[in-house]
Each structure stands twice: as C-alpha cells, then as structure tokens.
Subunit: 346 residues, 2 copies
C-alpha cells in the first residue's frame, strides 16, 4: 500500500481512558463535551469528577482522580466550558489534584492549560502532560493532491452547528455495526476528544489546511471507510475557505449533506440567506470533483430537533421526495437512517 502521506503519529493519540471533569457547572448547555464523550466514547470514560458546586451529571460513576487512576484512567478531560472558555480559579484545585494523582490534563478551551503557571509547574513536577486539542500538530505538510487508497465520506453542511459531527459519528457507528471497517475522523475539538485523535482544521495555518485534511485520512485498505467530520459551509461568509480545504484534502468518495429543518439564515450572519440543500449538493460535488472526480452525494442528514415525531417524519419524507435522495435524522434513526447508510455504501 503506498504511503507517501504520513499518518498522524501514534504519539498524537490522546491518553485514554478519561475521567470527565465537570467543573462548577450548573447549566447542562455548558457540558456538551462531557455528554458527547459519554454518548460516543462511553467505553473510554471511567467516570466523572466535579467541584462541589456542580449540579450536572453525566450519570457515570463519580470518582476521585486517584480512584479513577486506579481504575485505569490516564487523563482527566475538561468536559465543560463557561462562556469565554476561561479556566476559573475554582477549577484549579481539582485540576491540580488530577495531576497529582497521575493523570494528564486534556482540554479544548479558548484558554490554554499551559498558560496557567500553577498547572504548568505541577505538570513538570509530576511528569504529566497538558494537552490542548485546539493546537494543531507541528510539521503539517502542504497538500499533494495525490489520490489515496481506501474510501472516504465527508459530512458537508448548509451551515455551521447543525449536526455534521453527530452525523459523521452516527454513520461511522452504523458502518461498524454492519461489520465494516470504519473510522470517525475528527476535524474539530469535541470530535478530537471523542475520537482520541484528529486535527482541528480551522486552527491550522491556511496554506496547510488541505494538507492537514490529507493527513487526517491517510491511505487505508481498499474496503476501509473514513467518515470525516465536516466544518463550516462552502457558502459561509467567514468559513468557506476552511470547508473547501477540508473538502479538497479529504477527497471524499461520498458526501452526506447536513441541514437543519427550518433554518433560513446563516447562524450569526442574519443578512445571509442559507443556501438550499440542492445548491449545497451541487456546489460540493462540483468543487469536490477537483480532487476526486468520482465524488457523489449519498443523501441528506436532516436535523429535525424541535419537531414532534409526526412532523419530523413528514419533513424527512417531503425532503426525500423533493430531492430524490435518502434523507434521515440520525438522532431518530429508523428505516430512513438505514437507507441513508445503504446509500453511503452503494
């Protein structure tokens, strides 16, 4: 198997299993990372740990860092974020306790763990690592454009924040449940924590973004599938360049276009109309054909959150009839989702 493109080194994998840190958080909306890890990497989470003030829970066993270490945990992951992404003083004692107990610290916050002097000194003293998953690996290559072996699927959005990561996770899980050798490939911080590895594409220097995407899904066996987490949208006024670099570098054989039912304006940019699903499919296939002329659209992932079951079913059926493609909400699963998985493999 040719392998001119280097794979991410084994050393870039995050230390696992995890102890999930919930800070002093009382608002479940701030704990999406912890809930995502529970839902998608349950087998790699030994338990949770929190300040006394925290009122949320993942339902996993509540463990001290020392107990978690004894049960095999290798890192404590910050599974919460307050607005601003800071590390408040109240978190310092539990973070230090984890280092003292022999756990590395892993976070994807705006604030860097290593910028906090007490953490930095404790990490050195205990021989532990402070890992910020927003930091891309060093030495990324420029993209070569060379076709790689194995098969690839990329989730492509009409916008940000509507289910591209969730869809990729659900598709990778469904493929594995069918006995297919498949990997979820993470391109953003929460996905990286879940997968235990990946590259935060939007944090890479622009010249190297497509090269990073090539590195993210290296040569593989001919029947292996990489299911790659999409970023942004090709029509987004701020992030389209990131999305195009990820599309070109991923060289997907199949795309699944992700859309949120009823969303009509770009999130955070209300003066921009959302592109239609049809436009998004056509544009992604046209641009993606540059590095993989065999690219095709397998179907659509429709986020129907907020609709009741009947309304969701109708929205999915209407979209499928209009587009002539399989449409499903992975959160709801069912026959529609099975047909979408079939179409990915077709």
């Amino acid at each position: 198997m040719p392998n001119a493109v280097p794979a991410l080194r084994e050393a870039d994998a995050l230390p696992q299993p995890y102890l999930l840190f919930l800070g002093d958080i009382a608002e479940p909306g701030y704990a999406k990372t912890a809930f995502g890890l529970r839902d998608w990497a349950r087998e790699r989470c030994v338990g949770e740990f929190a300040c006394r003030e925290a009122t949320i829970t993942t339902g996993l066993p509540r463990l001290t860092p020392a107990r978690a270490r004894a049960l095999g945990a290798r890192a404590m992951v910050v599974g919460v974020a307050n607005p601003g992404g800071r590390i408040p003083p109240a978190w310092l004692p539990p973070l230090l306790e984890a280092l003292h107990a022999g756990l590395d610290l892993v976070a994807g916050l705006h604030a860097r763990l290593g910028d906090l002097e007490p953490l930095r000194q404790a990490a050195i003293a205990h021989g532990r690592r402070l890992i910020d998953v927003r930091e891309p690996p060093p030495g990324l290559p420029l993209a070569s454009g060379r076709k790689r072996s194995g098969r690839r699927l990329l989730t492509v959005g009409t916008d940000c924040a509507l289910g591209k990561k969730y869809t990729a996770l659900a598709l990778a899980r469904a493929l594995r449940q069918r006995g297919i050798d498949a990997d979820f490939r993470a391109s953003g911080q929460t996905g990286i924590l879940i997968a235990g590895r990946g590259i935060p594409i939007d944090a890479v220097v622009a010249d190297f973004a497509a090269g990073a995407a090539e590195l993210l899904s290296p040569d593989a066996d001919p029947d292996h599938w990489d299911v790659i987490e999409g970023q942004g949208s090709l029509s987004h006024p701020a992030y389209a360049g990131v999305s195009l670099a990820l599309l070109h570098g991923s060289q997907p054989d199949a795309i699944v276009v992700c859309h949120a039912h009823g969303r009509e304006r770009v999130l955070g940019h209300p003066h921009y109309a959302l592109p239609s699903v049809e436009e998004t499919i056509e544009l992604a296939l046209r641009l993606g054909a540059r590095t993989n002329p065999a690219i095709r659209c397998a179907g659509v992932s429709l986020n129907t959150g907020g609709l009741d079951d009947d309304a969701a079913r109708r929205a999915i059926e209407d979209a499928a009839a209009r587009l002539g493609l399989p449409v499903a909400d992975p959160m709801r699963g069912g026959d529609a989702f099975a047909r979408l998985v079939d179409a990915c493999l077709a």
Copy 2:
C-alpha cells in the same frame, strides 16, 4: 463613513524608505524581491548594500548602512533569498552593521530574523525592530460578511506564480495615472514589502483568513479603488481554501483573471490539468457572488513571457476574441492594457 471593520494600524506599516540588502548573491533569480522593490517602490528605496561576494545589482546607488541612514533610510530590507530561505553566516556582519547604523531589519524569509540570537541581542541593544513580513498581525477578526464602502478589484489566477501580484501592481499604477484614488493591497510577502503594508493571507490561521481579507481592504470613499493581490487558485489542490477566503473577504466588484499562455498543468502538481480561463471566470463569479452579488469579470491578464512580440499579440487577440473580454499582458502594456483598465472602471 461606517467603519466597523478596523483598518490595519498605522503601526503595522513598514519603516521606509529602504536600503536593499543583496547578501552574497550572484544569481539574479534569487533577487526577485530586490528587483520588485526597485521596479514598484523606487521612490522608497535609497540604495543597495551587499557583501563583497555579491555580483548582482539593482542599479541603485551602493551605500553603506550609515550613509543610507543619513539619506533618510529607516530599514534595511533583505531583497534576496537563497534556496531554503536561510540566513547564512556571511550575512550576519552586514545585518549587524545595519542595526548598528540605526536601521530596522525587514525580511520575508523562511528563517525568522528574531531566531538568530546575535541579531536579537543587537536589535535590543540598539532599540531597533526585526520585522518578519511572513508573520500575520495579532488579533485578526473573524469575517463579518458586511458590505464595505469603496470599490475593489481582485486578481484571480488559473494557477500560482503567473502574474497576480504584477497585474495588481500594474492596474493600481494605471488607475493612479488616470487620477483615480487607488491602493495596491498586498496579500503576500513580496507585495507587502512593496506596498509597505499588508497581510500574508496564506500564513493566517484558516478560521481567520476571510477576516484578514476584510481587514486588508477596509471601508473607503465611494470612488476609491483597492486593487487586491490574489493568492493561489480556486482550483488548486493545496491552496483553493486560501483563494476562496481571500475572494469572500475581499468582496470584489471586479475581478481580472490571470493566466500564463501555454500553461496546461498546475505548477508542481503535474497530475492536475489547469482549469481553463472560462472555467476560472465562471467559478470565481459564482463563488464571489456570495459576498458581493454585483461581482463581474473585467477581463484577463495574459502572461506572454517567452513569446516574441508578434506571437504575444496574436495570443492576446485570439484570447480576446474567444472570451469576448479585454485581454492584455500588463508587462507589454499598450492599447490592449488601456482597454483592460477601461473595463475595470466600466
């Protein structure tokens, strides 16, 4: 005039006029930056300085750093690059001499000036700056997508390295010669040295690339033109994301598509056919319309280097007839170029 998008700070302008440093170079191909500065920023170059081994010259007066300082120079610019972009030991004494004479040092090499300890210490001792123009300014914003006042032109390429910077410089100069208020806006290192300011778009973290492009051509008077240096190509397997971010953030009213006569494969990627000029126009207009629905193609800049005058004239006329657009080689100027400038203003 609205000005929610901050302009580049005055402090980001490079210290000028320049003394051009030619190192120990004997090969003119390694001195493109020095020749570009002589050709496009002659009024801001007081002279040249070189090691004894150098055999090239820009034709400008040969001055010591002390003499250049007395004549008003504020910085010595490294106008040459050896393969690898390193700073060889032979350059250290003249670079130190410049700092000692009261000049800042400016470079766009792969190697950073500040990574050389003797330079760093001498700069501190003499209160001078070491400026690497490959380093983007800090605190770049995310793109807002908001329409800005003033008029903008972007050069868009079928490939890298075929005249996008030269075309933008020639168009900006031609507009000013017609009495139009116009600025060349630099998006790469050589352009930044020539303009004395700008942002190296390809060195910006991907998420902020479109925001950097917005910052590069801020709100301006309604009749003012920014002529923006393009980067890469929308069909380039490695750099398309950079090109799209620059297109979206620039919001050009007009594009001029740049092509090299006879080039059929992507430079450095021979397994990729070059897109046609027609495809490039259509794709750039389609993608650019997302942030400026009024975008139009003014014409084509055709690099006819290597052709004799008759063959160049025929190539330009043939392309103009085929495309139904003004086509010119700015290096050759003439009526064809005047018609291209007319079309930009139309």
